[in-house]
């Protein structure tokens, strides 16, 4: 029981820390989802908004962690954990939203809302090199997809000879703690997820290479080199993440066919690699992710994402006139979908539908 509490407390803390440091890791000229020039960010009032945000987030974290530990010690219910995570995330979001609105109001009162410099630099050589790497990483993304195909085929071939009760979950000691009736649903639900995630990774990798990067007009060559290195490192980390997840998914058919999971040592290595990989991704974002050059309004290149009017709550990007499917996030690290784009809408709705489908399938399979 102690192991479970530690694990859940750890996850809880990770979520808290990622939100606490989101603004620090966010791209330059953004402050809690609002476009603010780097030089203006230093205003005392703005720093106070940030401090209040951090304090309120921390209070929520401590309270909900205490509540979780209290209830969990009475009744180890995973639904309780989900509820705590879900509720604390909602509260975190509302604190962020309040901060965002305060800063937006402050900006309207104190700074000009019209962007002075709207110069764009197009470098055909850079675009060509980016396309080359986009193709390379697209091909690499096919490897996890092939693992998914192979896993699925193995299950199809062996389906008739599978026992009527199949192991669905193993505990930390490697013993089966949950069986399910053999059915197409229970056997192939993991394959469904496996394919879904592999395909999602493939498209996200491609779209991240197609996304705009902003350059520093006073350091064009250096910022271009940095942008290229950033994309390649993200592509590499995404690929390793995709591969690790694919291997972990592959354990399911393995466990069904052999009746046990790989040794604890192998599982440990895989999980450690996963954490190292995620840590590496965060380090890449922190170092390269559009934060390197502190630019003045005159030296920065302009991009459609700089306009506040396309952003909802500083979180959702909605621009039907923008052909880009993914743009860099304002608050936090990584990219966000352009929900004004027709493909963007499909991705958003599709992801929601498939998430509920996956949960629903899990319910049905485990009845």
């Amino acid at each position: 029981m102690t192991a479970n509490i530690l694990l859940f407390g750890f996850v809880f803390t990770l979520i808290y820390m990622s939100i606490l440091f989101s603004q620090t890791l966010s791209k330059k000229n953004t402050f809690f989802g609002v476009f603010i020039e780097e030089k203006d960010k230093k205003a005392k009032d703005l720093l106070q908004f940030k401090q209040h945000f951090q304090i309120r987030i921390t209070i929520i974290y401590i309270l909900s962690l205490a509540s979780l530990l209290f209830y969990f010690s009475i009744n180890e219910n995973s639904l309780l954990l989900l509820l705590h995570i879900f509720l604390s995330l909602i509260l975190y979001f509302f604190i962020y939203l309040r901060t965002h609105q305060q800063i937006k109001r402050y900006k309207d009162q104190h700074f000009s809302t019209e962007i002075a410099n709207k110069k764009v630099i197009i470098n055909p050589t850079f675009i060509e090199e980016r396309n080359k790497w986009k193709t390379i990483f697209t091909l690499l993304s096919c490897i996890p997809l092939l693992i998914a195909c192979f896993s699925c085929l193995t299950l199809i071939v062996h389906y008739p000879s599978l026992p009527n009760e199949i192991p669905m979950h193993f505990n930390i000691a490697g013993e089966v703690d949950h069986y399910a009736q053999k059915s197409v649903l229970s056997v192939f639900q993991i394959s469904f997820l496996h394919f879904l995630i592999s395909i999602l990774f493939l498209f996200i990798t491609r779209w991240s290479f197609q996304s705009r990067v902003q350059l520093d007009l006073e350091h064009i060559e250096q910022s271009t080199t940095d942008a290229m290195r950033y994309l390649k490192l993200v592509g590499l980390n995404f690929f390793i993440l995709n591969l690790l997840i694919s291997v972990l998914f592959g354990i399911f058919p393995y466990s069904i066919l052999t009746g046990h999971i790989p040794s604890a040592k192998i599982m440990m290595i895989l999980i450690v690699l996963l954490f190292v990989n995620v840590g590496s991704l965060i380090a890449v974002y922190a170092h390269y992710g559009q934060r390197k050059f502190l630019s003045t309004p005159e030296s920065r290149t302009y991009s459609l994402e700089d306009e506040d009017r396309y952003w909802l709550w500083g979180v959702f990007y909605n621009n039907p006139d923008d052909p880009a499917i993914m743009v860099q996030k304002r608050f936090g690290v990584g990219w966000t979908i352009n929900i004004g784009h027709s493909t963007g809408k499909i991705i958003l709705i599709g992801t929601l539908i498939f998430t509920f489908l996956a949960i629903f399938m899990g319910f049905l399979a485990n009845k």
């Binding site: 709207k118 705009r212 052909p323």
Partner: protein, 125 residues
Amino acid sequence: MFELDFNSEKPIYLQLYEEIIIGISKKELHYGQSLPSVRAMAEEIGINLHTVNKTYNLLKEEGYIAMDRRKGAIINPFPIEVKDTQHEEWTHTLKLLAAKSILQGMDEKTFLDSCKMAYKQTGGE
């Protein structure tokens, strides 16, 4: 390297058209090199595909690029073949420039010196 300005009075398709021509003239782009695809260019700038299409079509009509089905837009070899209408337009642009210069009080020598400098700066030898 093309520089576009969204704050400029000049429409983006025209800015891109001019930047590409100057880029080719300055030998930043060479014969046989592909321009980014219409979609890639549109995504990079953040404008509609039709706008980029307009630019590429204009460049194709005037003979600066050719559209290949596989490779996309490729830079043509030089010198390009100039149609009569194109030469008329060139002469007209030159006359307009001369007229503006005269009205600004420029003498002939200054005008020619400026022309020489512009010619050299955009890749002429």
